[in-house]
């Protein structure tokens, strides 16, 4: 779709709702933007991580077969504080002491001036191997169990006209940010500064303070330009920064560690594989009477963020539907594989894939059109979700569905494609904005605006990782102050300079942090009276206003019973996928995706559309291409040669329609947006294959799987 025109900016036209020029556009388009690997510091060494090569066991010895001259070597005994990567549960060591729980687990660190010497150093680790566990369904150990209950599923099943059951599976997915993980640790003033490709500077700060203890008097974390994150730079940079810091402290010199693609893919987090079982009762007209859902996530060897990924997955598992009786039980299971973690969508793409494919199977069993079944059951304002949250007027499930049907010509094509090599399918989905339940209250995020000699500067730890944080925050602040967008600058996230605005995750950066900044800017405007900021600064000197998160008064959440208002609001989406199948090679070619998304308010229409187009592409890859092959508990295809993400030739045309049904608590009505488009493409594409008569219940739907669905096993 065409990007809305940007009128010539002037001091009186509001910035919100216009596609203003990106703050970071020029640097990125000229190659001037500096990413972690573009930085060097005087005396800098390069660091390397020696990793475990078995999935389970204990280390019995480490032999170093290299001349130690010029090398700095660090093992767990060099850790001055506590040997943990501090996050939710402190179970993961920064360096293995004895017990190995997965392949590619960090054991030893080396640093040297010369990359060649570093790569040439041979280290042999001897093990007493154990028996690894790879099947999450056989695992005796769960990191988290969640039960969400509403009504009585037994009562619902007793009235069933029909019961439909099914099991749905989704695989790992690798983030493939085009810039691999990288940081540089620099000793400074009795402390350490870490510069790097980081989504959440204060997460890294917390981890470093725990790891380094009294050995440093101060820790500073600075985000460099970041070449994509998608959740993949949410938790692992805490590990990597710890490694670089340990080497830098021991060597007393700056140390850079930049992973190559193979190491990044093999060692760092991925999307959790999931197994989701559905059992659903419906009446004669297809109304949902009861939904019983079991969710199993493969968490890997340490907790990382799995408990909260599971939480979001479980809350979204019943889909955007009204059902009086629901029981969702969910578990995140230990396996001897590298820990899985945050990835755009955070558990919801897995469970929404399952419920959306299941809905098509219910429609099939009732001989009902899938769109009609969804329209009949879609949540309306006043309905309650599985956690009992009563939805307000900001619920748009039926609007996005009806708009997508109309825009795509679904009904006409559904008939016209019958009996051809083409199929059309859809998915209806939603995504909670911000942290779950009382999570935002616990974060207590802060963000500030301050006067400068030329205008105003934003101080927030929210990171720009491509999504447009700088630009969108500056638009919100400019309008709240009534000044031109160009007069607002955005400070680089540096924990020595900016307050903790919470992590850049969970589709919260616009709605939550943008909201805090809007209030702070309004307060600053009061202080200025009628003076322009630069004039006030000239007369009165610096002024800073720090805003804090304020929870809307109506939110009630019981995190033990999993009842109440899970999210302040939801984004809503509907995808219609059109595919063409080659019945000789069983390759699927997606032809067109129509994506209708209610984002509340598009602060920057071109950036909003960009988020949806990009998230949709990741969803296409998730559905049709991206297969992580695990061998002995580690990714065997850890390279871009055989882990394939969509190229220009794989992507279909994408038609985006933005709807703006505002959330009154967001800046100008904005809801969360970044993750929403990840939830829809996979089920829509698999449902388009179902329209072609193929019963697929797992992704990725590679040609081999489609061939098997069509022809049976060879």
């Amino acid at each position: 779709m065409a990007v809305p025109e940007s009128p010539t900016p002037n001091s009186h036209s509001p910035a919100v709702g216009r596609s203003v020029s990106r703050k970071d556009g020029l640097g990125k388009a000229t190659g001037a933007a500096r990413y972690a690997d573009d930085l060097t510091f005087p005396g800098m060494l390069h660091g390397r991580t020696i990793r475990s090569t078995i999935a389970c066991g204990t280390i019995s010895g480490i032999r170093r077969d290299f001349d130690p001259g010029g090398f700095t070597v660090v093992d767990w005994r060099d850790i001055p504080g506590r040997n943990v990567v501090a996050l939710l549960t402190e179970d993961q060591p920064c360096l293995v002491e004895r017990e190995v729980r997965h392949q590619a687990e960090p054991v030893l660190l080396l640093a040297h001036e010369s990359r060649e010497a570093l790569l040439g150093a041979a280290v042999h680790i001897d093990y007493l191997p154990g028996t690894p566990l790879f099947d999450p369904e056989q695992s005796p150990r769960s990191f988290k169990d969640i039960l969400i209950e509403k009504g009585s599923v037994e009562a619902g099943f007793s009235k069933a006209h029909l019961v439909v059951e099914g099991t749905y599976r989704t695989g790992h997915q690798e983030h493939v940010y085009i810039e691999p993980n990288g940081v540089i640790a620099v000793p400074e003033d009795g402390g350490i500064a870490v510069h790097g490709s980081i989504q959440c500077p204060y997460y890294v700060h917390k981890a470093l303070v725990t790891l380094l203890g009294d050995a440093v008097t101060q820790v500073r974390v600075v985000q460099t330009e970041t070449g994509g994150g998608f959740g993949g730079k949410e938790e692992y940079p805490s590990m990597l920064a710890g490694h670089a810091a340990l080497l830098a402290l021991k060597a007393r010199r700056p140390v850079k560690i930049v992973y190559d693609r193979v190491e990044d893919m093999a060692a760092t987090t991925k999307r959790h594989p999931a197994i989701v079982r559905h059992r659903t009762a419906v009446d004669r007209d297809g109304r949902l009477l009861a939904m019983e859902i079991e969710v199993i996530l493969d968490a890997g060897a340490y907790a990382t963020l799995s408990p909260v990924v599971l939480s979001r997955g479980a809350i979204h598992a019943a889909g955007p539907y009204r059902c009086p009786n629901t029981r969702i039980s969910a578990r995140a299971m230990f396996t001897n594989t590298p820990p899985n973690g945050a990835f755009r969508g955070f558990g919801a793409p897995q469970t929404e894939f399952a419920v959306e494919v299941h809905m098509d199977r219910i429609a099939e069993a009732l001989d009902l059109d899938p769109a009609r079944l969804r329209d009949r059951n879609a949540l309306r304002p006043g309905d309650s979700t599985a956690t009992g949250q009563v939805l307000g007027q900001d619920c748009s499930a039926r609007q996005v569905l009806r708009t997508a049907l109309r825009k795509s010509g679904y009904r006409r094509k559904r008939k016209a494609f019958a009996g051809t090599g083409r199929g059309i399918g859809l998915s209806l989905y939603y995504h909670g904005s911000g942290f779950t339940g009382s999570g935002e209250l616990k974060l207590g995020s802060r963000a500030a605006v301050e006067l400068t000699a030329t205008g105003v500067r934003i101080l927030a730890s929210s990171t720009e990782i491509g999504q447009g944080t700088r630009t969108m925050h500056a638009q919100i602040v400019a309008d709240a102050l009534g000044i031109p967008y160009e007069q607002v600058e955005v400070a680089q996230p540096d924990t020595g300079v900016v307050p903790d605005s919470g992590p850049t995750v969970a589709s919260r950066t616009c709605m939550v942090v943008g909201g805090i900044l809007e209030r702070a800017a309004r307060e600053l405007r009061e202080r200025l009276g009628n003076l322009p900021p630069e004039e006030y600064f000239r007369r009165h000197g610096p002024v800073r206003v720090t805003g804090e998160y304020e929870q809307p008064g109506w939110i009630r959440w019981d995190e033990v019973a999993y009842r109440g208002d899970a999210y302040a609001t939801y984004g809503w989406g509907c995808d219609v996928a059109e595919v063409e199948l080659d019945r000789d090679t069983w390759e699927v070619r997606p032809r067109r995706l129509t994506v209708v998304a209610d984002v509340g308010k598009a602060i920057h229409p071109a950036l909003s559309i960009g988020q949806i187009e990009g998230g949709t592409a990741q969803g296409v890859g998730y559905a049709l291409l991206e297969q992580v092959t695990m061998r002995d508990g580690v990714m065997a295809n850890a390279q871009l040669t055989n882990y394939l993400i969509p190229t220009t030739l794989d992507m279909p045309a994408v038609d985006v329609v933005l709807l703006e049904n505002p959330y009154p608590g967001g800046p100008s009505g904005a809801k969360g947006l970044g993750e929403l488009p990840m939830d829809g493409p996979a089920p829509a594409l698999v449902n388009a294959l179902r329209h072609l008569g193929l019963d697929l219940r797992s992704i990725p739907a590679l040609p081999e799987a489609i061939m098997e669905a069509a022809c049976g096993s060879p």
């Binding site: 573009d38 810039e179 994509g228 390279q639 871009l640 190229t647 220009t648």
Partner: protein, 140 residues
């Protein structure tokens, strides 16, 4: 070894098997060229060698003796494609952008969409889904 780098002659003392990418970034300080995979799959390291777009991570220095090499820095600060990428939000995280632009400059003015898609098939972008990149390159 002598090459022409962004229009000016340049003498380099480097190993013949050194990767062009490393020489550009480390010896010449031209960090606009990025490394994404090191195996010629992602295209983030694309530069022009005698006018052809190549992955500089796959090119040993011995192969470019006497050649004319253009990097993103060689296009200057006001190239129409750079401006179009800014205006159409063709860059999100920006790490693939220099490589995208270096491939796009070989297409000439007003290329057709099928031609763009074919030419850019070796340049991966994980942020945009490519649509905004097409809009930027097709911008008159």
């Amino acid at each position: 070894m002598r090459i022409t780098l962004n229009g000016a002659p340049r003498d380099l003392a480097c190993h013949p098997a050194a990767r062009l990418l490393d020489v550009l970034r480390q010896e010449c300080g031209l960090t606009g060229t990025k490394e994404g995979c090191g195996e010629g799959e992602c295209g983030a390291c694309t530069v022009l060698v005698d006018g052809a777009a190549v992955c500089s991570c796959l090119v040993p220095m011995a192969q470019v003796r006497g050649a004319s090499i253009t990097t993103i820095e060689g296009l200057g600060d006001d190239h129409p494609l750079a401006r179009a990428f800014m205006d159409e939000v063709g860059a999100q995280c920006g790490i693939c952008t220099p490589g995208m632009i270096m491939t796009a400059v070989t297409l000439g003015p007003r290329p057709s969409l099928p031609r763009i898609r074919t030419a850019l098939a070796g340049n991966l972008c994980r942020c945009t889904g490519y649509e905004a990149i097409y809009r930027a390159i097709r911008k008159p």
